[in-house]
């Protein structure tokens, strides 16, 4: 008999709030973190959701006297801080620490500092702040990293390798990723518009999110019922036209949970607003006959926060579950995918018991995790 696994603590640091409550207040009011920027990171003006350095430093000064951390390290520590403080764990070898990111401290390469650009250096810095003892587990699996870390932690706890896991996910908007997405001609010239007819691509964003996962039902917000992380085996820089990997990932999660597609109350999807991604998701959801399930993409509020997105969107999705409230898929106007999907167009009440989070990314990767409200 495998153990049950729960999420009992959540937090996020984003351009629209430094805790979950502030983020939800802004989402309810339709406020996005995406703004126009003109600076030396790009030759032309661009839209992105960026956290102001001054706000980061002010918040960080309240919890630490030292300041020799990078922006990403501060944001990761700030995301974990309240959860770790509440947990009162002794952080033995049965406490896991997972960190997910795509590019970590990649800006260290501007100074040719290879050591600081290593992801294990970042993990050691954050783990060292809190005194985690077990070796850090770094997950770097493109844009599914954040939600994949939840799936991995759930499996490790289920199998008794650990009793609890702190997860932090984060990525920054840097010249490195801006120029890369721009070279793919994947950047939107306006704030991104997931699933809309006139969508033209992504807006990038930066954020960190953190959760505590545990086998202990006390203080549990949601239970993790099933998960899958299956590759398209089709293309390294574009999604499968048939949504094969996403279809199979969701199927795997539902099968494990013994939940039928029509029982799912809400999907927090990936919705990057590139033409191919959104179309692929619509196809995968329809293959599972989930075209009627209310779905949103939170990219309209946060932009695409890469390795953070899956965990950040899970943290917000959990609030939908706890509040029985669906949030608008910001930026959506006219349906722009070939298969019918039920994009949430106004904030509304709905009893949510089963919540599905999905993500897809470069390399053909996909992840789906199914959550259930804890009664």
């Amino acid at each position: 008999m495998l153990r049950e696994v729960f999420i009992s603590g959540t937090n996020c640091i984003t351009p629209i709030g430094f805790d979950v409550a502030a983020n939800i207040d802004n989402i309810v009011n339709g406020i996005s973190g995406i703004e126009k920027h003109e600076n030396n990171l790009m030759q032309n003006p661009y839209y992105a959701a960026v956290i102001r350095d001054s706000e980061v430093n002010t918040a960080f000064a309240k919890i630490a006297s030292e300041d020799n951390y990078t922006k990403l390290e501060k944001l990761m520590i700030l995301a974990l801080y309240p959860i770790v403080s509440q947990a009162k764990s002794d952080f033995g070898v049965k406490t896991a620490f997972l960190l997910s990111t795509t590019k970590g401290n990649i800006t260290a390469l501007q100074d040719s500092n290879i050591e600081n650009a290593q992801l294990t250096t970042l993990a050691k810095t954050v783990a060292g702040f809190f005194g985690f003892k077990a070796e850090s587990i770094v997950v770097s699996n493109a844009c599914v990293s954040g939600i994949l870390a939840v799936s991995i932690a759930k499996r490790l706890i289920q199998a008794n390798v650990y009793d609890e896991a702190f997860i932090v996910s984060g990525d920054l908007v840097s010249e490195f990723v801006l120029s890369g997405f721009n070279s793919f001609q994947a950047m939107s010239d306006l704030p991104c518009k997931p699933y809309s007819k006139n969508r033209t691509g992504v807006s990038l964003g930066e954020a960190t999110a953190a959760v505590l996962m545990t086998s202990d039902k006390k203080n549990a917000k949601v239970k993790i019922l099933g998960d899958g992380s299956i590759n398209d085996a089709n293309h390294i820089s574009g999604p499968s036209r048939t949504g094969e990997g996403l279809f199979r990932s969701i199927e795997s999660a539902l099968k494990e949970a013994n939940v039928k597609p029509n029982q799912v109350d809400y999907i927090s999807a990936h919705g990057t607003a590139t033409p191919f991604n959104d179309e692929m998701e619509a196809i995968a959801f329809n293959r599972l006959e989930m075209g009627n399930v209310p779905v949103n993409s939170l990219k309209g509020y946060y932009g695409h926060t890469l390795g953070a997105s899956g965990l950040l969107e899970t943290v917000i999705g959990i609030e939908s579950v706890l509040r029985n409230r669906l949030f608008v898929s910001l930026g959506f106007d006219e349906i722009g995918v070939s298969q019918p999907i039920n994009v949430i167009s106004k904030n509304e009440d709905k009893e949510i018991n089963y919540f599905l989070k999905t993500a897809s990314g470069f390399g053909g990767c996909n992840t789906a995790v199914l959550f259930e409200k804890v009664k």
Partner: protein, 204 residues
């Protein structure tokens, strides 16, 4: 009682040499990874032109998977083989090259063909496409090969029926310094799959 798992087959690539199940199957004079990987590609008759578009990390992982799986799986059938890979330097070998392409504003040439390889899990995509593995995949970063974690997670995938077999790999590449250790975990075989045996093989 959970079923025992076994290391069915393994492959090590380092120092211009490929070793399969303890036997050297290919060796090249020390002339750098570009030449080594090309000669190995030719020697094994890989016949997959996309190989030459890959970055070093993907070439290393791809070659290891090809040598290991060749003749052991039927690509016409569904093969439920998960991919569980890890390394130390993520995609830094290519990250450094991409950074060079954007650091000089007078000589600014960011390329999507390079940028896509600035993610370590791309090599999993390459292997999945090659062998048509629509299966579980994940990429981890550790300071060094972590046999305890790898053994635990591979067993979890098999015991929870998320995968029939698991192709595991440590694929490290940075600045001409490389080592690949790939092995197939299965519920059949002779060599028991555990931390101690993985450590022995990794250092063999």
């Amino acid at each position: 009682m959970e079923k025992k798992t076994y290391i069915k087959t393994y492959c090590i690539i380092e120092n211009d040499k490929i070793v399969l199940d303890g036997k050297t199957v290919f060796e090249n004079e020390a002339s750098g990874f570009a030449d080594f990987s090309k000669k190995a590609y030719q020697y094994f008759g890989v016949g997959y032109p996309k190989f030459f578009k890959m970055d070093n990390l993907s070439k290393l992982a791809f070659l290891g998977a090809d040598v290991l799986l060749n003749g052991k799986i039927d690509p016409e059938k569904e093969n439920d083989i998960a991919l569980l890979f890890a390394n130390k330097s993520a995609s830094l070998d290519t990250d450094v090259k991409y950074q060079e392409s954007i650091s000089d504003k007078e000589n600014y040439f960011p390329s999507p063909a390079v940028f896509v390889y600035t993610l370590p899990n791309i090599c999993l995509g390459e292997i999945s496409i090659r062998h048509q593995l629509k299966s579980e995949n994940s990429f981890f970063i550790f300071d060094a090969f972590n046999p305890g974690f790898m053994a635990d997670y591979a067993n979890i995938l098999i015991h929870t029926k998320k995968a029939g077999q698991v192709l595991c790999g440590w694929v490290e590449f940075f600045d001409e310094d490389y080592k690949a250790f790939l092995y197939l975990v299965s519920d059949e075989g002779q060599n028991e799959h555990n931390k101690q045996n993985l450590e022995l093989l990794y250092n063999s």
